[in-house]
């Protein structure tokens, strides 16, 4: 230990640098996604208003907010599935949709017909289709990548099963494998860990963390605040607008969360930290795109 104030003074930046390298983004990283004053609407109903957000490459970003807050809308805008009514979006250096084969989008589980007659391997192989192009059948490289992706999510032995025969957690694993097989630069994941067991959640987050470390950008919506706080590096809080954006442990604080969720966050007094519980009324059974309010928040 030293009393030299000049050395003490250096201590803080070093800590920050460690955090930056470990949890956040390399300073030189190019922004993967930039939204500038983006507003989006379904018909006359505004879903997101005036969102300005820059997401660097290598981010592992949780998008958090109540149902109907515009989380899925944000992903659809970035994926080019929906056009903003105003504002500018840049994805991987171009307008949304131009780098589509470098984007993997995972729909909400409710959006998928699980009775569809396809096997696990067929679903994961779909991740290769955009790169293959018309007329071309999957070749050896595609089969290898599909097998590797299945192994990555722990589903190597389930390739020939029909997707309807899988559990909820296995289904999410398979869809993540499809995203991995596409070898994307940008993952857009709508509720990847919702409704899955704790083990699956940990496994999937391990995979996503590894992808982010290798420079891929991961943007995922979630209802799970504990998962967001523990496993994601950054968080964006949305409720019709961008409430806050930053490092996950800084953004997930009591004041910002109650601003995001209105009356739907219960803060239990504890050992000075406070325990935050997502209101149980905010389940995932609301129909797609439906606004879902319980009180006078609007």
């Amino acid at each position: 230990m030293t009393n030299d104030p000049s050395l003490e003074g250096r201590g803080i930046p070093v800590v920050e640098e460690t955090i930056a390298a470990d949890r956040a983004v390399p300073a030189a990283a190019q922004p993967s996604v930039v939204l500038d004053g983006v507003t989006a609407a379904y018909g006359r109903r505004t879903a997101l208003a005036d969102v300005t957000l820059s997401i660097p490459s290598g981010s592992l970003l949780a998008v958090i907010g109540p149902n109907g807050a515009g989380k899925s809308t944000l992903l659809k805008l970035i994926a080019g599935l929906m056009r903003p009514s105003s504002g500018r979006i840049t994805v991987l250096g171009g307008p949304p949709g131009t780098a589509a084969s470098s984007i993997a989008y995972l729909p909400q589980a409710e959006a998928v017909d699980w009775e569809f007659p396809v096997t696990v391997r067929e679903v994961v192989t779909m991740g290769r289709y955009a790169r293959l192009g018309f007329w071309h059948e999957p070749g050896r490289e595609d089969r290898d990548r599909v097998a590797a992706a299945l192994a990555t999510v722990g589903m190597a032995d389930s390739g020939e099963r029909q997707i309807g025969a899988l559990s909820g957690g296995q289904r999410r694993r398979v869809f993540l494998a499809r995203a991995i097989a596409a070898d994307p630069e940008l993952y857009l994941l709508d509720e990847p860990v919702t409704g899955v067991d704790a083990r699956t959640q940990e496994d999937l987050m391990d995979v996503l963390e590894a992808e982010a470390r290798s420079g891929k950008t991961v943007i995922a919506t979630t209802h799970d605040l504990i998962c967001a706080a523990q496993r994601f590096h950054q968080a964006a809080l949305v409720n019709g607008r961008l409430v806050a954006h930053g490092s996950a442990d800084l953004v997930l604080d009591r004041r910002l969360l109650s601003e995001t969720y209105g009356g739907h966050v219960l803060v239990l007094p504890g050992d000075g930290e406070g325990l935050i519980i997502d209101d149980a009324h905010h389940h995932d059974e609301a129909p797609k795109g439906e606004r879902h309010y319980h009180d006078g928040t609007r």
Partner: protein, 288 residues
């Protein structure tokens, strides 16, 4: 009668040869398209498009144009209009289709009522008569059917992805809207090709029933399509022979064989089979 004679004797007639080839072609093309129709839930659209072909046929008859051309234009235009309504419309989709469907058919009936004299040709299109198909018509059926099959097989994997997960497919860069319009246009062509065989009213059965039966039997897309094709071909042959020996309407015979196979699959099938379900229920009941 010896079995060989039973099978070969009808083939001595030219109309049976042409009818069998036409029924097989129509059955196979409908089964392939029908796999997508069933998985995308387009049965009602298929019914609407086939009815909408009627005014096209009548107009072609009145102006002396080839009937196929008139029917094809009307069917494809209606299919694409339905596609646009489904993407842009504010009405409930099935409501919009119902309005379009009844309106176009009524328009055809009105035009039909203005024609003076005997119009058996046109009435034939309502119920179909595959045994009445001429060599020229057969060539057209074969040509258009081949075009539909080649296009569908060329974009088979993209159609599969877009049908299974439209959002994921669109995000990965596949032209999902374009593929949907293509599918609807091909559906229009398929329906017109099939109308002469089974008629406007029963075309939807040719599209839906073999694929629906196949879905009860297998759990893979490729196999579902293959099984649907086999079922359609078997139904075409059996239906046509029944029609020949029992002097029944040919289109109705084919459709009824398809329907019978569906009912058998429903009762005996491995997945949804009522028998296997009852067996499972019986197995579970004592312990529960």
């Amino acid at each position: 009668m010896d079995p060989l004679g039973f099978i070969l004797d009808p083939m001595a007639y030219g109309f049976m040869q042409r009818g069998l080839i036409a029924a097989l072609l129509v059955g196979i093309v409908c089964a392939v398209m029908g796999t997508f129709v069933v998985l995308k839930g387009l049965a009602f659209i298929g019914d609407a498009v086939s009815h909408a072909a009627f005014p096209g046929l009548v107009i072609a008859y009145i102006v002396g144009a080839p009937l196929y051309i008139g029917g094809a234009i009307a069917a494809v235009a209606t299919a694409l209009a339905i596609g646009i309504v489904s993407r842009r419309g504010r009405l409930r989709f099935d409501t919009a289709v119902g309005v379009l469907f009844a309106g176009t058919f009524a328009f055809g009936v009105m035009l039909f009522s203005t024609i003076k004299g005997y119009v058996a040709d046109l009435l034939g299109y309502l119920l179909g008569n595959v045994l009445g198909i001429g060599i020229g018509d057969l060539v057209q059926v074969a040509f258009l059917g081949a075009v539909v099959l080649i296009i569908v097989l060329a974009v088979r994997k993209e159609l599969l992805f877009a049908t299974f997960d439209p959002l994921g497919a669109a995000a990965s860069g596949l032209p999902v809207a374009g593929l949907e319009y293509l599918l609807l246009a091909l559906l229009g062509v398929t329906i017109v090709v099939s109308i002469q065989a089974v008629g406007i009213i029963m075309v939807v059965a040719m599209l839906v029933t073999p694929a629906a039966t196949a879905q009860l039997l297998v759990v893979r897309f490729g196999r579902m399509m293959a099984v649907a094709v086999v079922l359609a071909a078997v139904s075409a042959v059996v239906g046509l022979y029944l029609s020949f020996y029992l002097n029944l309407a040919s289109g109705a015979s084919i459709v009824l064989v398809e329907t019978l196979l569906f009912v058998i699959a429903l009762i005996l099938g491995p997945k949804t089979g009522l028998l296997s379900r009852a067996a499972r229920g019986a197995a579970i009941a004592p312990s529960g």
